[in-house]
Amino acid sequence: MNAQLNDAELAESAKAAQPAPATTKRDAASIAALHEAEAADVHVSVDDVDLAAELTGADASTMASPDVAEYAMRLGDDALILSQRLGWWISRAPELEEDMALGNIALDLLGHARSLLHYAGTATGRSEDDLAYWRDEHEFRCAWLFEQPNGDFAHTIARGLIAAIYMQELYTALSASTDASLAAIAAKSVKEVAYHRDHAVQWTLRLAGGTEESRARMLVALTDTWPYIDELFRDDELHERLGDAAPLPSSLRAGFDEIWSAVLAEAEIAEADFVNPKIGQSSGGGRFGNHSTHLGPLLAEMQVLARRHPGATW
């Protein structure tokens, strides 16, 4: 499943990196039906909007076991926090096409997060919003990579590259989960993550091979982001207990390394070009609620309105 990233594949990803029209991220057919009437003339009715099936996974009655819920929460938090970060770029990207592309990626990730958090919540009778808005920092389970600030565009790309290669390995393996809901969510997500990976690969190549400035910035971004790779692949007791319901993170490492090395090679970057010999891999423990200083302010902003109005619906 970890085909060598060759020229043909990279060329293919160049095509895929073209931003898709925004509507493809919703159920195109239902939206089209929704619009049919209005397109002809000025007429806006007030029926309820049916936003199509928004959450992937088994039917709503499926309840996650406490272990599966904990696992789904980790993955859901990764996706949610990265989506929250990427949303900032909308209206601030280097070109309009990137406003759309980064927006698409943020939307995909938010979709994954909602499915995963919804499922995680079934174990304790909490909704996706209960989990997103009403947990405190130490209750979040995201890895440090996803909390890292946007930095400049190169930092966003470096973070996105690591995230997408990892997620593609993860969701590919998780598609074979013995847990039907996890498998369904993974199977849907993996297709979208493939596009995210192509987007990040293309920009890594452009920045590394563009101008002197862009190459220097890309290297700095890799220096700053590289220390958060190992955390993604650390096994712990939860994984042992999950058995065939989830892959061991360590089992994903070889696949990750293969793609990671291929991309760096294509970009003509050696690890020695960016790795700071005095700084190794972070021992950060996001999976156990020990987070970087960046997460607190992010959550404060994300949760402020919901927490101002306990019990309200939106």
Binding site: A39, V46, G87, S91, A132, G210, E213, W314
Partner: protein
């Protein structure tokens, strides 16, 4: 990225201008479409460039007031809808810039005009969005007014503009619905939420009516645009239509439109309404609205801070092309 339109007069060097003009007039008269390679009067081209680029700029600047709430949207579902909506606006900006490019102006030129404040965009986006209910009011009122303005543009005489507008209008009606839905939820929610919704409608109602432009007797460009069938209805006609649409919807929402004089007049077949305060409109238009400076600063900073990225992409593409040439 720069798509230069053919110089239509150069394509028809030997044709008599009067004859070309007659052909153009006949196309307009027959309600057919002018396409990029057709001859067109210079004033028609200029009017279209002005209108389409202003429209594109409005979409791009319009991303900001709503982008303001993406990070704080109060539920994940609302966050997803808002994100999709703001992203749609970027897409609309792109279609419209492309349509304008067929008339011989580049996207770079248009961007430059925008960030140096030489081009206009819809004044409505110079108002701030202090509360979540503004996401509802913008969708319901601002996108609603935009739809009334834009649906007739789907039949605009210039082909690329009309076709871009068809796509845009489809998405705009979705935007208006989500705005309505936000307000409905708030209006039926806690007293605090209801108050938030009413406050936003109070702030956005009049500015949204001003989006149709000055009254017909004071609208200098309208007559020519209507004759050219770029514009199909007058400002006042569209404003009336919009108010007629709002009244029953406000009732469903349980919110009040902030005009004590608003009522249907059976005799005139029109909505009677209070006088619009055009002083405020003119102030905002003259750059003295609350957020004019902020909107341009935001756009300029994004553009300038992204310069090194665009340069990198161009340099990389150039190197790849050179490699391919060498290989060939």
């Amino acid at each position: 990225m720069t798509l230069t339109a053919p110089d239509a007069s150069a394509l028809h060097p030997d044709d008599d201008v009067a004859e070309l003009q007659a052909r153009f007039d006949a196309i307009i008269e027959a309600d057919q479409r002018i396409e990029p390679r057709d001859w067109m009067p210079e004033a028609y081209r200029k009017t279209l460039i002005r209108q389409i680029s202003q429209h594109a700029h409005s979409e791009i600047i319009g991303m900001q007031p709503e982008g303001n709430w993406i990070s704080r949207a109060p539920s994940l579902k609302r966050k997803a809808i808002l994100m999709a909506k703001v992203q749609d606006e970027a897409g609309h900006g792109l279609y419209l810039y492309s349509a304008a490019q067929t008339l011989g102006i580049s996207r770079d030129e248009m961007t430059e005009q925008l960030i140096t404040s030489r081009a206009r965009y819809s004044s409505i986006f110079n108002y701030p969005t202090p509360t979540w209910a503004d996401m509802g009011a913008i969708g319901w009122l601002v996108d609603g007014a935009a739809i009334c303005n834009q649906v007739p543009l789907c039949r605009a005489s210039y082909g690329p503009y009309g076709r871009a507008m068809v796509r845009i209008c489809k998405e705009e009606s979705f935007h208006q619905r989500q705005g309505f839905e936000i307000l409905l939820e708030l209006s039926q929610g806690t007293p605090e939420q209801h108050e938030m919704a009413q406050d936003a409608v109070n702030r956005w109602y009049w500015p949204s009516l001003m989006m149709f432009g000055p009254p017909d007797d004071e609208s200098p460009n309208s007559a020519q645009s209507m004759a050219w069938k770029i514009k199909r209805f007058s400002n006042d006609e569209l404003r009336q239509r919009f108010v007629g649409m709002l009244v029953p919807q406000a009732e469903v929402l349980g919110l009040t439109l902030p005009d004590p004089n608003l009522r249907w007049n059976d005799e005139t077949g029109q909505w009677d309404m209070s006088e619009i305060d055009w002083t405020e409109f003119n102030e905002v238009l003259a750059g003295r609205g609350p957020a004019n400076a902020q909107r341009i600063q935001h756009r300029r900073e994004a553009h300038e801070q992204g310069a090194w990225v665009r340069e990198a992409a161009a340099a990389y593409a150039e190197k790849q092309a050179a490699k391919q040439r060498q290989a060939a």
